[in-house]
Symmetry: C2
Subunit: 147 residues, 2 copies
């Protein structure tokens, strides 16, 4: 436990977030996701669902504002144009933390897996809602003052 | 870089701070200290002095309020009752972060080494002021509300 930090931010998750640089991706995935099989680096947060973990992560991680869509989801297999409620919740959370509108990019399932395999880290949660997976692209922290 | 965090809090230092529990000790030491030889776990912050690192650490680490003195310094070899300016600066910083008066416990040099060898981690800085070493004992983060 540390002052001011969300208690879901344990040592390994903090290490991964701080080690990431601009453009690196983090996948937050549900309990059905093949995390251990595809992660370069796996962090488990077994006690929380994906929206709780996303909120903890976004309290520290800036999203990339150099690209149109710094968030990607897994498209619903038979209805690729619908955003499931859990993905809508991801979008609302991210828009709140970033204080700007954000477009979520739905990726075909196999593309999502491919991006997760390339991601800096995969955070596996206890999320049980289907399609409770999200890819985040890290942005920059700007210096204060006129730069 | 992460939002809201002091940039001196790199991945390895964050990991150590978050992994520590109540009563675990952290040593922040100067550039002359035999850190690599005595640390169970060494974190280097080569670009900053000990007061800068202490301020970064205390932005997240609560000090123990179960003990009279959660901070120890290395006593001056020929003048054990004087607190060098760098140790006075440690004390002021800690009192500011904790918002309470704190007693610094000066330890004979060999005792300081012994405590550093037992510490959870040693953070070696670029501090050049002699006696620029401090031991911190981690406290607890209390839940919000009536507990």
């Amino acid at each position: 436990m540390l002052k001011t930090l969300d208690p879901l931010l344990g040592p390994d998750l903090l290490h991964a977030l701080a080690a990431m640089g601009h453009g690196d991706e983090l996948a937050i995935v549900d309990a059905n996701f093949p995390g251990a099989a595809c992660a370069r680096r796996l962090v488990r947060v077994d006690g929380a669902d994906a929206t709780q973990v996303l909120a903890a992560v976004l309290s520290l991680l800036p999203l990339d504002d150099f690209v149109e869509s710094p968030i990607a989801s897994m498209a619903v297999v038979d209805a690729p144009d619908t955003l499931p409620p859990v993905v809508q919740a991801f979008q609302r959370l991210a828009e709140g933390f970033e204080a700007r509108p954000l477009v979520v990019e739905p990726l075909p399932r196999e593309h999502f897996y491919a991006r997760a395999r390339e991601a800096f880290a995969v955070v596996q949660t206890a999320e049980t809602r289907l399609y409770g997976n999200v890819l985040l692209r890290k942005g920059v922290v700007r210096p204060e003052g006129p730069h």
